[in-house]
Amino acid sequence: MAEYKLELRGVSKSFPGVKALDKVNLAVRPGSVLALMGENGAGKSTLMKCLFGIYHMDEGEIYLDGKKVVIDNPDEAARHGIAMVHQELQPIPARSIGENMYLGRFPLKEYGPIKMIDHKTMYEETEKWLKELGLEYNPRALLSTLSIGQMQLVEIAKAVSHEAKVIIFDEPTSSLSDNEVDFLFKIMNQLRDRGVAMIYISHKMDEIKRIADDIQVMRDGTYVGTWPAAELSTEDIISKMVGRELTQIYPEHDHEIGEVILEAEHLSSIHEKSFRDCSFNIRKGEILGFGGLVGAQRTELMEGLFGIRHLSEGTIKIHGKEVKITKSKDAMDAKLGMITEDRRGNGIFGCLSIKDNVGISIYNKHLKSGFVLDHPTINKIVDDSITQLSIKTPSMNQHIANLSGGNQQKVIVSRWLANDPDILIMDEPTRGIDIGAKHEIYEIMENLAKQGKAIIMISSEMPELLGMADRVYVMCNGKITGEIDQREEMTQENVMRYATQF
């Protein structure tokens, strides 16, 4: 018997312009839990997708029980006994628990040429597997009657029912309550006793310490190393995850910071699992960073501030005066602007022109006789912003969908600048754009700060956050866990420490 149940050797994967994985190794022993750790974008998910054949690796090999195997799609992975419990569940809530467990492999009874689904066997089997994990759910109940955490446990039962020998848990606890986490770990210990090899992806240090046997750290798509969990302290892990220098692509800080312009106090979401009791302020001419791990509810908090999400409590003061913001129009009237994270989803109007994409925020401001659009004025504003932000396009009538990501982002920036905001929220402003355009966006941010505009920047890229921000708030799990206002204290280690204070 081979020492390792599953081994990945020298896995590399490139996407256009990026080397996502560079000769990464991974090895997990039977009956053990390997924690896979790394910052956002370190390549953990990409590695798992390569394992499951969702991505085709450029080079590298997979060994199972010491034998080389080729996995081209998730089905084959399942046949080899590899299963994954996803961070984002993909179940069908409107169908029963049993159907969800046996989707795609329903037990059949045959009556001559007619094949029918054998519901009885399916539900009996489901009940058996649930019992085995100590879950007392009715297999005929609709999945939607369970909580998210319970669904996650069903998902685990499904992985077990595949008789999986390797199970990957991708941030399984992000939506679990403490009790459910305990229960999950109990199940994982059972699985360990049965010799199942497990890979556990999580950012939560205390959980890693509780459950992991070994810890593997990845950074920027490379393999850093693997250590027995007992040998590493939290500090060690963080420094191994971070360990890199900032590169100089950020403009010099040359803007003056003025008085406080916005104060948000005790903002809480109407959803219990979202942001809670968040208080922060921002000054004129300041670039304020919001750091944290993916899922820390930073986007949700900003959307709450901008009136796209509902607040259960909290006050927002602008220039010392309390304002009510319940929809985006209120926020715009209060001189806020918001560049969203998901450019395609709620940023651009793909089938409209650049002009319409910019003009949408000001069409109600430039009217002749109260209702006719003042096209000449609007054209001039759009034309000016195309020149100012050097948006590369033949004309303002070009469809925005034909532009590159960076230029699209600049169009969105123009949209908000046309509305002349005092405070501009930029959620992951450089996501998915190339390095040159990134630099241009940074220059634009610096210029805006010079003009006295306040900028709130959410960024999951540590160097960007530290390179651009004058001050940083760090969020974790819906709460603001730290504020760093001295530039010398703005280190990746400090941000990571706050970002993992669950």
């Binding site: 901008f306 796209i308 929809k327 985006s328 129009k329 926020a331 715009m332 918001m338 969203t340 989803g345 709620n346 940023g347 651009i348 109007f349 793909g350 089938c351 409209l352 319409d356 003009g359 949408i360 925020s361 069409y363 109600n364 009217l367 209702f371 006719v372 659009l373 096209h375 969908a401 949209r415």
Partner: protein
């Protein structure tokens, strides 16, 4: 270079396929049959297009925002019936309002009646829009519900009896007017002009395209999404009412089944003309082209001796082919 030139021609043919096929059909029909390319036939065609265009224009707003309006046909009938009851001759035997207050004030001025039916139907459209905007009922379902309600109301109102005996001031709307062209055509042109103005020169139009293009982004960008949706469906129903008014004038009578299923022709015309059924794209000219294609096709087939039943099959095939070509333009880009 040679190849790109060839590619350009292919693109042009695909992009304008419907119109080109239409031209060929019209020329062929004109050459092979008598009486097709005559002034009389042309005027007739325009008159038939007029109210269909008004319906298509009404529906276009709903389609551009990614919806549809199934209440169109019934709304046309409802508008035609209300207009009819208010515009009957005093001496007409089968008068709807035989006595009482309403009998004493009818017939009203036709222009007043036109405004009135547009307002009444517009209010019903606003209700449909309210359900779509505030309660997130899908347009397909909410307009279906309104279709049933309007039909019921129309039946109760008219007692299911057909109307007739209109005053001349009303039926004159369907007579040749300025430049010898039917007044109905002028009305349709006026509505096309107004719609063009709304779509291109007002906030409402821009908001409509934005919602059709990306509703979430529109919400973030401060577009009053709910109000815009209500206005779109109110406007659509007002247009349907006008089409009903026009249809009544042309037919010299109306029943609750007037205009039945015309909304389907309207949606088909929009789609044929290039209003994207997935939202965000479409112009007034799209509605005009779509209506023209459908009507020309019907008349040409009729002249070519294709029997009325087979014409439906031909129309169905044209819709299949035209939309498949149209969708290609957008699908390939992804």
């Amino acid at each position: 270079m040679q190849k790109t030139q060839k590619q350009k021609i292919v693109d042009f043919l695909i992009n304008n396929g419907v119109i080109i096929v239409m031209f060929i059909l019209v020329i062929y029909t004109g050459l092979t049959t008598n009486n097709f390319l005559t002034k009389n036939n042309f005027m007739n065609l325009l008159a038939n297009m007029s109210y269909r265009l008004v319906i298509a224009l009404g529906i276009s707003g709903a389609v551009i925002t990614g919806g549809c309006d199934l209440s169109g046909g019934r709304m046309v009938g409802f508008g035609a019936c209300i207009a009819g009851t208010l515009l009957q001759k005093v001496e007409y035997g089968g008068r709807f309002f035989k006595e009482g207050f309403m009998a004493s004030i009818t017939p009203l001025n036709p222009f007043v009646v036109l405004i009135l039916v547009m307002i009444i139907c517009g209010c019903f459209g606003a209700v449909t829009g309210w359900f779509i905007a505030f309660l997130h009922v899908p347009p397909f379902i909410s307009t279906l519900a309104m279709m049933e309600i309007i039909y019921g109301l129309g039946l109760i109102y008219t007692g299911a009896t057909p109307l007739g005996g209109y005053i001349e001031g009303y039926t004159n709307f369907a007579k040749p007017g300025l430049l010898g062209i039917n007044w109905l055509v002028w009305m349709a042109l006026a509505m096309a002009g107004i719609t063009w103005f709304i779509y291109n020169m007002t906030r409402h139009g821009k908001y409509m395209y934005a919602i059709g293009g990306n509703k979430q982004a529109a919400e973030v960008a401060g577009v009053p999404v709910k109000l815009t949706m209500i206005l779109i469906y109110a406007k659509a129903s007002a247009f349907f009412a006008m089409a009903g008014f026009m249809l009544g004038a042309k037919a010299g009578g109306a029943s609750i089944n007037t205009g039945l299923s015309y909304e389907m022709e309207g949606i088909a015309a929009c789609a044929l003309g290039g209003v994207s059924v997935t939202g965000g794209r479409g112009k007034v000219s799209s509605a005009i082209i779509g209506v023209a294609v459908l009507e020309l096709l019907k008349v040409a087939l009729q002249f070519l001796g294709v029997d009325a039943n087979s014409q439906y099959i031909a129309i169905g095939i044209v819709i299949f082919v035209a939309i498949s070509l149209d969708i290609r333009k957008y699908v390939q880009k992804k």
